[in-house]
Subunit: 225 residues, 2 copies
């Protein structure tokens, strides 16, 4: 479902080039449960943003469900981001002036999903924030903001879930709850890709992709008993 | 050096009260190395913000170096925050349009410290970001932003370092480097307080304060061999 070939992403800062992805070849099949690990600055978020259609490659190809993403219109891409992909951002990217409830509802306004208020309440309850429904992001703790970001990413029941360090700001007990949710989504057939620094989190997936300096240097395939 | 007595902090959201700190009694002596752990939303950042003079109590007392903080003027507080306390924020709070170098220099502009450019470069080099000096925060990875926040907190060589989840977005190798830095600062006589979800990080300190629902429920005193 996700096929990257010779994928390169280069940023320019003044007259310096930052080669964040240096030729990545990666195939993720439908329903896989994958984690991506690597040092700070190695290109994990950049890779996830490319997969999530939030940014475009400098060179190389990206086929999503057998369509070359570079050929898609902005409308197609917006639709894919809204319905096919649920993205949990490393810095959450919540709407500052909207409540928790509204933040989780917003993707469903775009997709025209019925009974969005009920769905939003269920998701917020699931991540343990039913007592914070009317708070705005600046009235939440760091881990609470992260949980809202997770709830929002799941609003349209997307086939592909991309989570950039979903447990970075959360204690282990809450983090386990989040990982249990992602594992359940995987078991229901969704494709789940998690960027993480946590070996425990990575160990819950079936495949660990290790990145260094914009290249894949190792892959581990995990058997769970 | 830090004395909180019956410290209470209550937020209001619409007509609901959120009791983030529910009567905290805490003394931290000069030169201690303390970590604060607890579930997401338990009040850790709120407590650190009170200690760091970024927010004021609803009731109770806070004496910093034997001065009641509630009696200090806004000028006194600004001076304390700039020179006595180095704060690493959970969400970094970098200046968006300023470069890495400028972000680290800014506290030294306020304090009038000489040769600030050299000091800033040293700190940036220490956290491994010498190749990112001219990037702005949005041109950095999550862990790189965190490292800039750490470098900036140390700019004025503060006696008290307050770090809110300093390794949350960083891989373990870089995280160990950051903790080694904090340990060195402790050994040099600084008072270091770290909020963390990471038992490994907490295990490097001498005292773990565990919080739940705005109250201290347990303290561990650690002996290192
Ligand atoms: N400005 C605010 N207005 C209203 N409620 C707030 C505000 N800031 C924090 N809260 C609430 O106070 C409680 C404590 O927040 P705090 O940020 O101290 O938690 P924390 O322990 O740092 O959590 P985390 O580990 O997720 O960072 C949370 O439940 C949060 O919803
Ligand atoms: N918009 C940008 N402009 C310039 N350079 C950038 C930009 N975004 C990221 N970079 C650089 O590209 C490299 C990869 O960044 P990326 O965010 O993918 O890293 P990461 O692996 O997610 O790191 P972390 O674990 O710290 O979140 C970093 O060194 C960063 O400085
Ligand atoms: Mg990242
Ligand atoms: Mg916090």
């Amino acid at each position: 479902v996700i096929e990257l070939e010779k994928a390169v992403k280069t940023y320019r800062v003044e007259d310096v080039e930052v080669r964040a992805m240096r030729g990545i070849n990666l195939t993720v099949e439908e329903g896989e449960y994958v984690s991506i690990m690597g040092p700070s600055g190695s290109g994990k978020s950049t890779l996830l943003n490319i997969i999530g259609c939030l940014d475009t490659l400098t060179s190389g190809t990206y086929r999503l469900d057998d369509e070359e993403v570079a050929n898609l219109s902005e409308n197609d891409l917006a639709r894919i981001r809204n319905r096919k992909i649920g993205f949990v951002f490393q810095s959450f990217n919540l709407i500052p002036r909207a409540t928790v409830l509204r933040n989780v509802e917003i993707p469903m306004i775009y997709s025209g999903k019925p009974n969005r208020r009920e769905v939003a309440k269920d998701l917020v309850r699931f991540v343990g924030l039913e007592k914070r429904l009317l708070h705005t992001p600046n009235q939440l703790s760091g881990g609470e903001q992260q949980r809202v970001a997770i709830a929002r990413a799941l609003a349209n029941d997307p086939a592909i879930i991309l989570a950039d360090e979903p447990t970075g700001s959360i204690d282990s007990a809450t983090g386990e709850k989040i990982m249990a949710l992602l594992t359940t989504l995987h078991e229901q057939g969704n494709t789940v890709i998690v960027v993480t620094h946590d070996e425990y989190v990575a160990g819950m997936t079936n495949r660990i992709i290790r990145i260094r300096d914009g290249k894949i240097i190792r892959e581990d395939w995990i058997v769970h008993f």
